[in-house]
Symmetry: C2
Subunit: 386 residues, 2 copies
Amino acid sequence: MTRTDLQSGLGAFQTVHVPLGDRAYDVRIGEGLVDRAGAHIAPLLGKKKRVCVITEVNVADQHLDSLRAGLAAAGIEMEVLILPAGESTKCWAELSKTVEWLLAQKVERNDIVVAFGGGVIGDLAGFAAAILRRGVRFVQMPTSLLAQVDSSVGGKTGINSREAGKNLIGAFHQPSLVLADISILASLTPRDFLSGCGEVVKYGMLGDEAFFEWLEENGPLMAQGDVAARTYAVKRSVEMKAEIVVRDETEQGDRALLNLGHTFCHALEAATGYSDRLLHGEGVAIGCALAFELSARLGLCSQEAPSRVRSQIKAMGMKCDLKDIAGDLPSAEALVDLMAQDKKVLDGQLRFVLARSIGDSFVTSDVPREAVLRVIQDGLDARAAT
Amino acid sequence: MTRTDLQSGLGAFQTVHVPLGDRAYDVRIGEGLVDRAGAHIAPLLGKKKRVCVITEVNVADQHLDSLRAGLAAAGIEMEVLILPAGESTKCWAELSKTVEWLLAQKVERNDIVVAFGGGVIGDLAGFAAAILRRGVRFVQMPTSLLAQVDSSVGGKTGINSREAGKNLIGAFHQPSLVLADISILASLTPRDFLSGCGEVVKYGMLGDEAFFEWLEENGPLMAQGDVAARTYAVKRSVEMKAEIVVRDETEQGDRALLNLGHTFCHALEAATGYSDRLLHGEGVAIGCALAFELSARLGLCSQEAPSRVRSQIKAMGMKCDLKDIAGDLPSAEALVDLMAQDKKVLDGQLRFVLARSIGDSFVTSDVPREAVLRVIQDGLDARAAT
């Protein structure tokens, strides 16, 4: 699935191909892709050398001039819509604003919409592209590590319901191209970068022991800024996500493996109000540690696996335990109740991704509520003791 | 594609199968399907014997009790959301209201949403189902002739943009089942029924001369209420739509043939403000007459074809000419400009469905603007002369 390219104007980059039939696309990973965006996007355009870019204020402040120059270098003009930053942008009002703006730009079926930002922008702009004229093509240009390794690949797009929860409204709409610029990661705050690492470590834990071991060795280096390590980590994460998405594009089965740590994570995010008390990737890392703890207590994996998982998370400087979450948390009972409100719940049954070992996970609905409660209660007790 | 079924509890009905791989479904056509809705829908449900019904006030007043009883006969409960009637319901506000209502009903991926109404309800509820949790299943129960022969088959769902036009926001989302109850057509006003006939006659004209001839003989009978004639007309229309949709699910090519008469129709609808001055099917019939007139003048079909087309339309009591539209119309130039705003326009090129003969149509962008202007101007002149 991977090859290294060096073509005129395109610079050096690596490619992960996502072979989804007539919805196939490439994820290109490398330095300076924003500066060379025009050369990458030009082959997708028809006669009209123009793209419509959806972004948010912070990304626009830092990177919009580079993108404009990168497109202009290939003779491509851009129109731009700058949305507010933050999760609350994934709402009906911003969706309708975005779609109506694209219609006002007279975007037709052969045109390209560019999502330039983190997961919020990718999800919102991708969904807008999905429902505009029943589907126009779009290019993901993820600017956060989280978006590069997770949300920009696989075609899940959507917004949140204020009442009912996150990502409950949306579409499967695959991008036509993903440009993951490693250089841009240098502009992230350390906390935002480490949050993205939550999704990176998840891939090793759920399906690739060799990648887990690579991260044991190189994770700290990657966290500190090493570009080669970051490129490899993004590439391997995207490869793994692509393999799983190809097996199960619309989440009927295997794709659920990608939710390792997420059942816990969603409850913790809900409990902290989806605020900056807990970033998504932080919740994933903590959730992975809890999922391995639960697996060990159920006798599914060795007693050593949870501590190895926690060591990796801590070595990279990430949040790892319930006690790393500032402020109050609800009771264990209340947290388990929050889990039951996740959208992946079928007929009211809680589903978990558990592990037989590091790199070997599976989906199950066969988890005693009592065992889940105990794992969470122990985590809460450790908080109280500090 | 067609068979006749008589199964226990299901009554007598005919089936058109729409073979779209894992999105395949049946369209069932017959009398009393609302009364037997439960028996038809039960096999689609899991453990939860409940459906969520989206409808509108007029349909609810007339038919909701029958549907409730029909579902209850198979032990199925229903929750119901009653929306305002009319095209203006296809808007962002009603869409978000519908989706949030479905979420509040805790609709999960295995549940069924029922669209019970005309094209507006089918388009809106189908779109809501498409984006709820990135896609839940839905059943179309079209209550107008227009919806039975057109919008409930083929998976086009969506809403309107207030600024930019009709159906510009939406998704392709195939229903799991379509129940076209012929009995319910008896409750339509004659004008609403005849409007639906605009889409029916279109099928003969665009692709089936034998059906055109059948309508020359039986059209007036059908218009007057003959149930056997109505059943056959709906079945044959659905068969033709299904054949074309299967060839081209996402409208890259052949599906455009279904737009015979629609380029003219959309301009006339825009000119009359999408009001009850001109119903959609009325515009389609007038548009078909204009498309054959244009085809004859361009030397594509015989001089006799347009008059045969107009005779069929008039024999059924339908609106046929620009002079049948009450009130003022804009100039020919203004009408052609309105055509260019249709969402199927690519790179600004006007596209028409024209005909080589009755039953043999094709799509072309190669139509001189001058010829279109002259056909419309002659129609406007005939109005002025009356």
